[in-house]
Symmetry: C2
Subunit: 246 residues, 2 copies
């Protein structure tokens, strides 16, 4: 058997993928967090990112549908609960719709999934399919972008509050909740990947899965920029900046 | 538009499918509930039925992975919780393993899924695939065998307690819990199917889905009978009545 890089070297490799490719590096996020986005750009982001949010619990259910170990399913289940909510407890999707309302969008329009860029759908659907079809190791590894999420959420909370009139505790509640939800999930996921990537080949596969996921996130922002950042070229079917306003 | 049979006629049609085809009519269940099964036959049933139990939460996750409506996902989620359990709350799969222990089987052997009849796997896997691949209406309708489950569970509880030394509140806890879980689930599922089967064609499709599901259940008992009811012809790979004993 080939020498396997140890757990800490492997974890460092995974973290390097984030340092190099996570979408906190995307110019759209710099623009958003530094207050340079127009309200139309913010709205376009909220509409398109809704599609990603809406598919996350479906992705997690697709994962659970392939897991034969009840303990692993049980550990994964809270992800769905965090997004879908429960009796008397708001979930992430509903919080995202509060943000939509806060930026002047009709939440029903946003939830209808009209106006979402085809490229957003292609990227997000590719992620759901990936998790449904790939070996469990890659499926779990693709969730590890959550390692890098708290930092971007902190930047976002600070940036939105500083620069945009719509930002207040209600409208940005989604991001605050993710500050505690994501670390809990990723601690489990990271340990699982480290435990199961027990050959050099599997470590490569896990790294490829995380790289794939960073591509999924990045592609959504490229599409957003292409369509809406001035001058912008909105493709057929994309939100036209006049629809769905409150 | 063609005349659509009204909700009560449609519900009666669904209930007729149960009256004609549900596996309470299968001779294996008569044998089991009337105390005529040998312990080997009981054990073979417990081993094979474990596979069905183990796939139910995967089936429900597969369903949720295709549902875009957070409310519908939320309503469905408790099915997974009922089977997988939660922190401090035993689930159906664990309860089934208590039954396994009660009939003298090593629960680890049963959970390992060794010795399960290939025909059991074919039938159960067909059900999971069906729910993953078919339109949501059929996926929900296929769950409606739960309409008929409380009756068979009551018969089973009474029959096991009367005829078998292994039966006690701990070993039969699975069935007692299903007496309350299944009606809650099926009340929701039945209403959903009635609401969504809004054409004669869809009513036919829903009825076909329920019929399919009765086939899935029946085929498992046919396979069990063929392999284990005396004289029985255990196929290659099937539990050999000496393995997995405590």
């Amino acid at each position: 058997m080939k020498d396997i890089p140890d757990a800490s070297a492997f974890e460092a490799r995974l973290r390097r993928i984030g340092a190099e490719r996570y979408h906190d590096k995307h110019p759209f996020h710099h623009r958003l967090h530094s207050g340079q986005c127009t309200m139309d750009e913010v709205r376009a982001w909220v509409i398109n990112r809704y599609y990603y949010q809406s598919r996350i619990p479906m992705k997690d259910a697709a994962f659970m549908s392939r897991v034969t170990d009840p303990k692993l399913r049980r550990a994964w289940r809270s992800r769905i609960e965090d997004h879908d909510g429960a009796e008397g407890r708001m979930g992430g999707i509903e919080r995202w719709l509060k943000l939509a309302e806060g930026v002047g969008l009709d939440p029903e329009y946003v939830a209808s999934e009209q106006g979402i860029l085809p490229a957003t759908k292609f990227a997000v659907d590719a992620y759901v399919r990936y998790v449904r079809d790939m070996p469990l190791l890659q499926a779990v590894a693709s969730s590890l972008t959550e390692l890098f999420a708290p930092k971007i959420h902190e930047q976002r909370i600070a940036g939105l509050l500083e620069h945009y009139g719509f930002a207040n505790p209600d409208t940005i509640a989604y991001f605050r909740h993710r500050l505690t939800e994501a670390p809990k999930d990723v601690a489990f996921g990271l340990q699982w990947v480290i435990d199961h990537a027990d050959t050099a080949e599997k470590q490569d596969e896990a790294a490829a899965a995380l790289t794939f996921k960073t591509d999924v996130l990045w592609a959504q922002l490229d599409a957003l920029w292409s369509a809406y950042v001035e001058p912008g070229r909105i493709p057929p079917g994309g939100w036209n900046t006049h629809e769905g306003l409150l």
